[in-house]
């Protein structure tokens, strides 16, 4: 009798938990808070500032989604995840969306049951060495000791690159970027390898950034993307198109400064649809008409976010490069809003 009650309760609980997981939008709305998985600390991309407020390029995605869904960019709980814990945190439901320099790969997309909804930074793996080493090319690194974050795609690329070029190396496995920085600066490794953007961000935090150079070779494609769980397609659509809204806003010249003016006076039909004046696109994904407007208002358009967090005017000093708009020779391309 008691056993039957126990099993009944257990089954009901399991069904409830399962049912709730399938509708992330309803979940987030009910909670009134977006759980966003981010890096444990990578200046420029995701790191708490002096006041403990999370700032950065990835953080802007979290804010935009929160603004679109909940109407308030501050309704985000940032969950720091390491390279090891990030995907588990996502698939277990601990976070609703993962904005954490994660490279899209086939097996992650398929076998890990993740959906990479939008690539927010086109990156590639590079090497950083002290200038005093006298190395000017990655091809001269035969026999070097290389610091590498364990459990990342960069670890696999590193092994492949050295094999392909018939060179040897000694890996020093580290757990986080902070540890890599410390080991590298102490000279425990000759070179530090990770995504070129990560190298730039790490170097920017050094006391003497000019003593270190990032070698010209980029040895891999690292499309860093925002990920959600596989199976909740509507939630995937929301995150994907929120990001595209930021990209499209830059393309059409919509900035956080002229947002209201554009919304009221723009005669461009695409802008009118994007900002919810006509067509009511938001309804199709379970949101209201002004979702994209709020997303753009959160931290500005894609270009504004880039320039404010990792661009040439910041200590990170990253050029737009591949991440420029398609109209400027880059790869950033938002599909039509119609």
């Amino acid at each position: 009798m008691k056993l039957a009650i126990l099993f009944g309760t257990a089954t009901a609980a399991a069904l409830l938990a399962g049912g709730a997981m399938a509708d992330t939008l309803a979940d987030v709305k009910a909670r009134g808070m977006l759980n966003c998985g981010v890096n444990t600390g990578l200046v420029g991309f995701a790191a708490p500032d002096a006041n403990g407020n999370w700032q950065g390029f990835d953080i802007a995605v979290c804010k935009a989604v929160a603004a679109a869904v909940l109407g308030d960019a501050s309704k985000v709980k940032y969950v720091p995840t390491t390279g090891q814990t990030r995907f588990t945190a996502l698939s277990s439901g601990e976070v609703d969306v993962l904005a954490r320099n994660s490279t899209v790969t086939f097996s992650r997309d398929t076998d890990l049951k993740l959906d990479f909804v939008a690539i927010n930074y086109y990156d590639g793996q590079g090497f950083m060495v002290p200038k005093s080493l006298g190395v000017t090319s990655a091809k001269e690194l035969d026999g070097a000791t290389v610091c590498i974050q364990t459990g990342t795609t960069t670890e696999l690329n590193l092994a492949d690159y050295f094999r392909a070029n018939n060179m040897k190396y000694q890996p020093v496995n580290i757990d986080s970027n902070a540890e890599g920085e410390q080991q590298y600066l102490a000279g425990a490794c000759d070179a530090y390898t990770t995504d070129a953007s990560g190298l730039a961000a790490t170097r920017a935090a050094f006391a003497n950034p000019d003593d270190h150079i990032i070698l010209p070779e980029i040895i891999s494609k690292e499309p860093l993307a925002v990920a959600v769980r596989h199976g909740d397609n509507n939630w995937g659509d929301i995150v994907r198109w929120t990001f595209f809204a930021l990209v499209a806003a830059e393309e059409y010249g919509i900035t956080s400064a002229n947002l209201d003016e554009q919304a009221n006076t723009s005669q461009n039909p695409e802008v009118q649809r994007l900002l919810g004046k006509t067509d009511d696109l938001g309804k199709m994904i379970g949101l209201d008409a002004e979702w994209a407007k709020r997303a753009i208002a959160a931290s500005g358009n894609y270009g504004e976010i880039f320039n404010a967090t990792i661009g040439e005017a910041t200590p990170i000093k990253l050029a737009r490069g591949l991440n420029a708009q398609w109209t400027q020779g880059g790869l950033m391309y938002a599909p039509p809003f119609r």
Partner: protein, 418 residues
């Protein structure tokens, strides 16, 4: 003989399962057992259900796929092309290496510190107290990080050894180089190699190594036989024959013969490009982990040894002094052998702790089982549950092996009552 009748058992009634003290115990045990099994069944069923809902299955095929990552320290041949399975074995061997090394040094440190803490010398005793309290009361992870940081920050980079006027110099007749990455030590090389034996799984053992081990074992056996013969002789005639020259010859002559046959040269590490080559580079990750584990567990063992020594009655050592034995010999011949009985059971737990604590290795980047199977493999394949189950199983088996081996030893030193 007895006059009174034994009361007959009352007939069994179902209510006696609850009311009768004789049966109540069984009833409770059966109910608890069923409840635990039900909970386990529910937990496993729920996990499988949730996994299938996520579209994930539970299988170990990933173990045979290409690993694709490199491991700094390998005891068996391994490349990035090897399978995840092999990477896990490499990690397991690394775990075993640091566990075995750690258990040995922790025991040495612990016994020394435990005995010295009872020393009459005030300074020595206090120093040992400070050591024990310092290591026992600060988390192990911090010690590992501290030791590793000391290695990384205080030793020179290999580059410092280069140039005409190097900033750092090799020690011990220019044969050992201490760097902030590893300690480069010389190796022995055979002049006339006679091939090696392949024992499967790509592992080969040099014939010369085998020959040396066989000769050494034979010499030890012969030495023991010689001792037995000498004792028999002594019992018979009262005079113990002089055996040490024969013993020495047993050990020295065959080894010299082998040395002449195979020929041996010392290969010194030399700086080649970025790093030392030629000798063996013992990584700081291993040394730091080993040192921290040994010192930490050694502090606990010291307390166990102290308790064991104090448990031996004072009369034992007084009797020993009365016989004219020195303090040192009293400790090693009278007190410690008796203390062993108290020491061994808790010592088993410490060995188990050390082995399991070695999974903190990732703090130094030492690639043990946790870092290979439970780290990179788990992360690259996304098989969290499988990797974790496998890893827990391996640690469980490892712990059971250690504790049963130690229990055998315990049975041998236990007090025998005749």
């Amino acid at each position: 003989m007895s006059d009174f009748a034994v009361p007959a058992h009352p007939p069994f009634r179902p209510m006696m399962l609850i009311n009768d003290r004789r049966y109540r115990g069984y009833t409770i045990q059966v109910v608890v057992f069923i409840l635990i099994m039900a909970a386990a069944w529910w937990l496993i069923g729920n996990t499988i259900e949730n996994l299938s809902r996520l579209g994930k299955d539970f299988n170990f095929d990933f173990l045979w796929k290409r690993a694709g990552y490199d491991i700094p320290q390998v005891l068996i041949p391994y490349t990035a092309d090897s399978s995840h399975m092999r990477a896990a074995v490499v990690g397991l061997l690394n775990t075993l290496l640091v566990a075995v090394l750690g258990c040995i040094t922790a025991t040495i440190i612990g016994v020394t510190a435990g005995v010295l803490r009872l020393s009459n010398n005030w300074l020595v005793a206090r120093l040992m107290t400070i050591y024990v309290e310092l290591f026992r009361n600060i988390p192990l992870l911090l010690w590992i990080l501290v030791v590793y940081a000391v290695f990384t920050e205080s030793l020179p980079a290999p580059r410092a050894y280069s140039g005409a006027d190097p900033a750092a110099h090799m020690i011990l007749f220019d044969s050992i180089a201490l760097t902030n990455r590893y300690t480069a030590i010389p190796t022995l090389n055979l002049l006339h190699s006679h091939g090696s034996l392949n024992i499967g799984w790509g592992v080969t053992i040099n014939w010369a190594t085998i020959a040396y081990i066989v000769v050494l074992v034979l010499a030890i056996l012969a030495h023991r036989a010689l001792g037995r013969w000498a004792r028999a002789r002594q019992n018979l005639t009262g005079v113990r024959p002089r055996t040490w020259p024969i013993s020495a010859a047993l050990f020295v002559l065959p080894l010299v013969a082998l040395w002449l046959y195979f020929g041996i040269e010392v290969v010194r590490p030399t700086l080649k490009g970025f790093n030392f080559a030629g000798g063996v580079n013992v990584h700081n990750a291993l040394v730091a982990l080993w040192l921290a584990l040994s010192l930490y567990t050694g502090a606990f063992i010291a307390e166990i040894v102290r308790a064991g020594v104090l448990a031996v009655s004072k009369g034992q050592s007084e009797a020993s002094y009365a016989l004219g034995l020195s303090r040192r010999r009293t400790m090693s011949l009278v007190v410690l052998p008796q203390a062993l009985r108290v020491i061994i059971p808790p010592l088993i737990s410490q060995f188990l702790n050390l082995t399991k604590n070695s999974s903190l290795a990732i703090a130094t980047g030492y690639m043990d089982l946790k870092a290979t199977l439970g780290g990179t493999t788990l992360n690259q394949t996304g098989r969290e549950l499988e990797s974790m189950v496998l890893m827990m199983g391996i640690y469980l088996v490892l712990s059971l092996i250690i504790s049963s081996a130690m229990n055998l030893f315990n049975a041998r030193v236990r007090l025998r009552e005749r």
